[in-house]
Subunit: 229 residues, 2 copies
DNA sequence: CCAAAAGTGTTCACGGTACACCCATGC
DNA sequence: GCATGGGTGTACCGTGAACACTTTTGG
């Protein structure tokens, strides 16, 4: 290597804000830290980026190591680098947000995490580092993006009812939506496929199950179609 | 400091994609690198983050050092960390995008930059590192954000005509807009103040000069008002 | 037959879009 | 008086919002 610069370098970490929906409550996945600093505190899953590892790979690796989750929707959120944010010294963290279906994943804490658990977003425990402000940023991003990108589906099972989908938007956006208008709007986008199946074992009239047609969305998006609410 | 981790660390840099409007062309500010790697190539202004320096401060410092620009609108864009993106080894860069009025700033290259100059976005020279992909990301962000946040004003003089404003949107979005509809829309937002002044020294009927009312915007925004194109 | 949620259409108001001409100024 | 851009209003259409009852199923 012919060029080298030798200044002190910040350490580089990743942190993941993983959202899930359970019983029409928006939840966040946290781990209990097993090691200092902040041992015993709850925190976002995350950790150090290896020197030859892509940043997003590090985020996925840490998430799997500390919680057992894999194959989730994951996007870069923001990079937090406040000089005082970590008592170990200068640590810059590239934060990601992720969307997952809690029921699809068996939580399994390991490495630096003593436990992993879901918490309702409106009832979080005290958090390590500046993780509360990472979460604020993530929630804002989620609420904004869910309205103009079809990412809500990442939080539902592959087959879902229109009522589930509407409930999801109501939960995330914190508003109530009109049932008929919601269905009209969603159906007019022609992004859902009626699977022909219906709910089973419900003590009421079973609803039709739909799935999101990703292929069709990509095709439409290329033609300038814009998903909206 | 009681906790220390000693793994090899990536180096941390910042890069700035600075946009400006000149003669209804969207331009980007580049510097010619004076030092290897990529000496003699054009690149985004940027450089290493000091160990006790906020990341955004580093971006502003590097921008001023290399181009002489200061006091610009600056926002974090994305963090680029591809393993092979820098021949010196692992270098992670927090990219920012900035908006400026070229006429307000006297360019003054220094430190690592041999020259600084504006280039039309559709005619950029070959660039160092992965700066072309940083620019792609920045342009996409600019085109998206300009429609739902009042950031376009950062590219205009404090007092401007409605035609200038319309031209700015046309330049950024790459579309033509209808003059009457544009004026109706903008006026209905009540975010512009008629300064009572008019253009001077133009060989035609002089236009009224307006300015953007930032205070009013913030007040409206707090009440749930959403700026939109 | 009762409870619970599924499913379905119409009306109205507003905002987006399309569109063409006269006006003020400098040269 | 001519060239240049400044400035203005109306009609139509499509989309978002409000709103209530019948149907299907399980218990």
């Amino acid at each position: 290597m012919s060029y080298t610069y030798e200044y002190p370098r910040p350490a580089l970490t990743v942190d993941c804000a993983v959202f899930g929906i359970a019983d029409s409550s928006l939840e966040l996945l946290l781990i209990e830290r097993a090691e200092p600093p902040f041992a015993g505190h709850w925190a976002l899953p995350g950790g150090f980026v290896n020197i030859d590892e892509e940043i997003e790979d590090a985020a996925r690796r840490e998430l799997e190591e500390e919680t057992g989750m894999r194959n989730v929707f994951l996007e870069q959120l923001f990079t937090f680098g406040g000089v005082g944010r970590d008592p170990r010294g200068r640590v810059v963290s590239v934060a990601y947000y992720a969307l997952a279906k809690p029921s699809d994943h068996q939580l399994a804490a390991a490495t630096d995490a003593a436990r992993a658990a879901w918490f309702p977003l409106d009832d979080l425990p005290p958090l390590a580092f500046d993780h509360d402000s990472i979460i604020d940023t993530a929630v804002t991003r989620l609420r904004g993006k869910v309205r103009y990108a079809p990412i809500g589906f990442e939080l539902l099972p592959r087959k879902f009812t229109l009522t589930q989908l509407q409930g999801l938007y109501e939960t995330i956006l914190g508003t109530e939506l009109d049932k008929r208008n919601f269905r009209k709007k969603i159906r007019s986008m022609e992004l859902l496929v009626d699977t022909g199946e219906i709910e089973k074992d419900v003590p009421r009239r079973p609803a039709r199950l739909y799935r999101f047609d990703r292929t069709r969305y990509r095709k439409l998006a290329r033609q300038g179609f814009a998903f909206e609410l």
